[in-house]
Assembly symmetry: none
Homo-oligomer: 307 residues x 5
């Protein structure tokens, strides 16, 4: 199997990484219906940890761990991401069928909001190897009083992952010393994405940013230099620029359940802005399977055909 020039180009950006890590990045980029395009759709199912099993009530088939592996494979997605127990429950049945990402830290909403936003480290690099994963996923909360600890956790895990030839994906979700609007403000999302890149992430996952500017100093700069942030595509472009000017893969989270039309609009904006794809959980598994497959098919076409 030859890599496409597009994928070769992307791999060349990861110039300090060993061939093992590059092979795993290649696996993510050469799998499923978007193989070779440099774009990817990933199915993440960490909502059970984050919000509890009520996440599966809207579509009870989703209580069953094989359901998600199955849908990700049938939809031709690039990868499936989940916490330890969820992967353990299907890793043997689906071995070799789709790249997997072990989410190695996990938040939960029973944990008091009086604490600084934080996650528990719930899996190890050795777990990722024995389960045959291609990458680890780790969430940071820039802005949280626990953020420095989180940065130090991912430093250690990323170093070990890279030495073992795994790829590292950072979910960067600013929160804590921020207004609610600030959490998705373009300056803040750009900052969170940049920090993830500086921490050594191969792939950066952020929320789609709004046009809000949180930081006063940033507001001055953006205004003075007339940075284009009016359309979603503009904002995606600025995030891509903030991730080493396109030298790191950036994917966007689908967010809360919403209608298909607006998801497709998001996808088009990601394509227009040069983003690398979508990591879309709730909008996939909280729909009946047929609807979800149709939606994922639609997304695949958008990511495949445009540009």
């Amino acid at each position: 199997m030859r890599l496409t020039p597009k994928v070769k180009k992307i791999l060349s950006y990861y110039e300090s990484d060993n061939p093992g890590t590059k092979a795993n990045l290649a696996r993510l980029l050469m799998h499923g219906h978007l193989a070779g395009t440099g774009r990817m759709i990933i199915l993440p199912v960490d909502q059970g940890f984050e919000h509890g099993p009520r996440a599966f009530i809207a579509n009870p088939s989703a209580f069953e761990p094989h359901y998600h592996y199955d849908m990700a494979i049938d939809a031709g997605l690039a990868a499936y991401a989940a916490p330890l127990g969820w992967l353990e429950a299907g890793a043997d049945t689906f071995a070799g069928m789709i790249p997997t990402i072990l989410k190695v830290n996990s938040s939960n909403s029973l944990y008091s909001k009086d604490n600084p936003p934080n996650q528990a480290v719930t899996a190890s690099i050795h777990d990722a190897l024995r389960l045959g994963c291609s990458a680890i996923g780790f969430t940071i909360y820039p802005g949280s009083d626990a953020s420095l600890d989180m940065f130090e956790e991912i430093r250690d895990l990323a170093a070990e992952a890279k030495a073992c030839g795994l790829a590292v994906i950072i979910w960067s979700y600013p929160r804590g010393a921020l207004s609610k609007a600030g959490e998705t403000a373009i300056d803040v999302v750009a900052y969170g994405a940049h920090m993830a890149a500086l921490l050594g992430a191969h792939i950066i996952k952020v929320k789609l940013p709004s046009a809000h500017l949180e930081n006063e100093e940033a507001k001055k700069q953006y205004t003075h230099h007339k940075i284009k942030i009016d359309t979603l595509a503009d904002r995606v472009r600025h995030i891509v620029q903030s991730c080493f000017d396109g030298r790191r893969l950036v994917i966007f989270s689908g967010g809360e359940a919403k209608d298909v039309k607006s998801i497709f609009e998001d996808a088009k904006a990601i394509v227009d802005g040069g983003g690398n794809g979508l990591i879309i959980g709730r909008n996939s598994f909280q729909r009946p399977r047929e609807e979800a497959m149709e939606m994922l098919d639609g997304l695949t076409h958008i990511f495949k055909e445009q540009k």
Copy 2:
């Protein structure tokens, strides 16, 4: 000894585990009067750590550590669970007579309630091996400010246990940022059970849930989707569903001492809802031996005969 089809099926769900861990799960499922049924009754005696030896005053024979081994064996239970010292005091006398579970963390009620709910890790995997245990038991308190630390402790212990062929049982007891009623609310118990499964538990132990819904967002979902939680059997069924749709064993704690009739009703509801059994301490050892044996016998019949 051939495993029953039921037990074979259950073992097949633990698809990422090594044969050593499966053999220990088989030991738990093929021992005692319920051998082969996929159901189990376990005797836990960690009340001494949790509430002090006053737990044994109602039935002074229970001060003697051999008493519990003895009763568990005579009653044909699946296993006996206790903290380090309690097992050390009988492990030789009763070696080979009943599967044992080393409770590797322990709470105590002298520890100030001003601290976030927490337990001390009081035993190791090596202890479990040298004492001939089949599994370790570990309590998590989702909702506690100490919960992230507890998750990280069990991550490490579970990884080591699994590598050594032991099974992992998580006691999941939400508390901390919750109302008293919330600790046994159906949405909260389901959430706690799901987290235990995601942390990699083979067997999940929770309290029998009430019909209360603690979380506002959950309440909306349960109501909107008309989730049946009216009867105890309905609620057990929802917990089983929340544990990977039946791919993980779930057992329920007997709770505080109560009359035999209501214990039997609980057991019937567990059977009706598809739960895998009962872990019943105080109601066993705080009764005179004869009464306890009669009760355990009654429970065995319920678990054996129904469905």
Copy 3:
């Protein structure tokens, strides 16, 4: 499950061992048709390593690894012993169905006879744990120029096995600085068995001894003190005496394929002499299954009914 007084008595002899090791010894002694009698029949299949797959030509079903697990279970034997790969090929399918013994060193007959008799260490204690084994098996060749190294290997492996709650079985086969007849001479077999016990074996496996006396000094002693070694039962009795006067389990190997009648005679002599059983490979799997089952059934009756 209560241990029988016989098994309780035997376990009491292993007074320095931890409860984990005793539980595994109990497992061997409480499994299969001879459970509780203090006697056992074990199926060993290490002939493939020792003589090559031609060992299976007489009964081609035996080329398949599940065949042996299956027969051992159906025949109600105490345990199944084999090298690493052979156990790996069935440990999951038969998890929890029969105690297994991992043979951790292996000889082979391609290795030049010009070298001192020796075996390679081909598995680890960690392998035994992950495969759910109850014991490790290790061969020593007292008399070989490599024997001191072998003693030191089993010293290390036994220490680790015991710390992890596993039992240790030593196959003691004197050879090297001995005549062919000397290898099974009563004084030599007794010496080899005693060394195995001194090295810390829980169970000692030797060949059935002949009345030959190899060592001149020994011959004088045996003659002078009128040691009874005329009948096989006498010799078995002397071996049992040499293994801490009955405080260690001793089992005898079946040796080369022979007729059923003489195997039964051997078994009766073992019973008469107070030996603990038979470890019988070639005579089991080199016969068609039905014949083998009949023979094992016959042996079981001999071990069960006599005395």
Copy 4:
């Protein structure tokens, strides 16, 4: 990507392995033109270590390490196997394009024949991970006075490889206490293959056996039981049987350079006998590229179309 039923079946034989190792076995079985058939052609280039760079003189393009990666990919082979430096010289350029096998021990022909046949361990499991390999390859020389040491080396390396989710391939080449004809005698090759399986190999590589019988005892058995070893296909069938009756993959080495017609005949015999494929080095890279590609194409057709 769904696995074919054939590949699913093969993976089910590796029942003690973790999902990581199974995913890597799946990678080998689902790559290239023979993906999904359960058969594979592997390109090994360890001749440079074994015989020196003169191995490349017949086709000087082969001096360049990228040449081999390139040919293996273009020919749609299952994998490419080579020693450390040879893989290091191309692992980045070809990352993600073809499964690779790190040969972790290496022989050389400058080493005096007065020594027992042996190889140096020349790479580690960590090397395999950082280079993105799917498996390690290791040669044993059953019959050599160094064989016990080699067995102990692969025991350690295989345990570590399996824990890290890698597959293990053993090259089993009996030599040492054997006649030249004996090295490829059917009884000896079967024995070597069986030992590799017992040592825990996932894939076993042997030479195509002759009808010669080396061992006197074996000769009696084979003759007495009328084992069919007349045709090459018969002999392949016996080797497959000797590898756990088909529960382990067996591939055959192409051997010295020879004409294409006889290579094709070998391949047909492998197919007829139920072997899993060919590992063909010298016959691939000692021909001009075009000729080699044509030959590999021919082999692919034979493995794909027959039966």
Copy 5:
């Protein structure tokens, strides 16, 4: 290449360091246009972590990580300093072209100001080695409630760095229990610099100090002893004196973006006061490249020609 007498002299001050560390110090002192002069200009780009990617808005070329390597090399600077991800993105392309300094801890401005000033440790000594760096950079905040922790972090990192032959640069920025003016007060900067030297720094980086005296006791002493602190050169001289009387290299940070003229004046004062150079980030990369190059050229001339 011979070292100049000046550089030889400087190296002689590091008398407890191993030759590896000295070789790396020599690399910094013998590279670029100022090679051999004992002075250096370093380009640091850690503003992305500290203030977010908005730092690059004024000069969008600076979003691209290669831009900085490139400019540092073209300007003939002594070294380039940056956090992990930023170096990883160019370390291969520019390997061997310029000494690099891995900034191993990082601050960020999303972290609440309610916390004591602190930084996360975001890279390791192993990272520095694998990326081919000559030194590590570490920030301390003397005066912060987190300062003791920071001192202990650099103690560990410095010890490991020195053992591996790397040089250690400490950025010493007093803050916390200080007035805003106090952060650059001459007594405070001198104190911070001295602590860095005492912590084992080879090179100390501080801000250019003001004539303000923060500490009352210090003020008395400075006044009483008529310490000259009127001109910037005087104050630089006092800092150099505070760094072991010139036995440790001291470099000054350029601070916020300002006009070229005042930068040149700063540089002249550094030369006059005996400082060893400038570490100038924002003033380099927030200008268009041509302007920046001109400025760096000007600085080089000042450091080269004077004295």
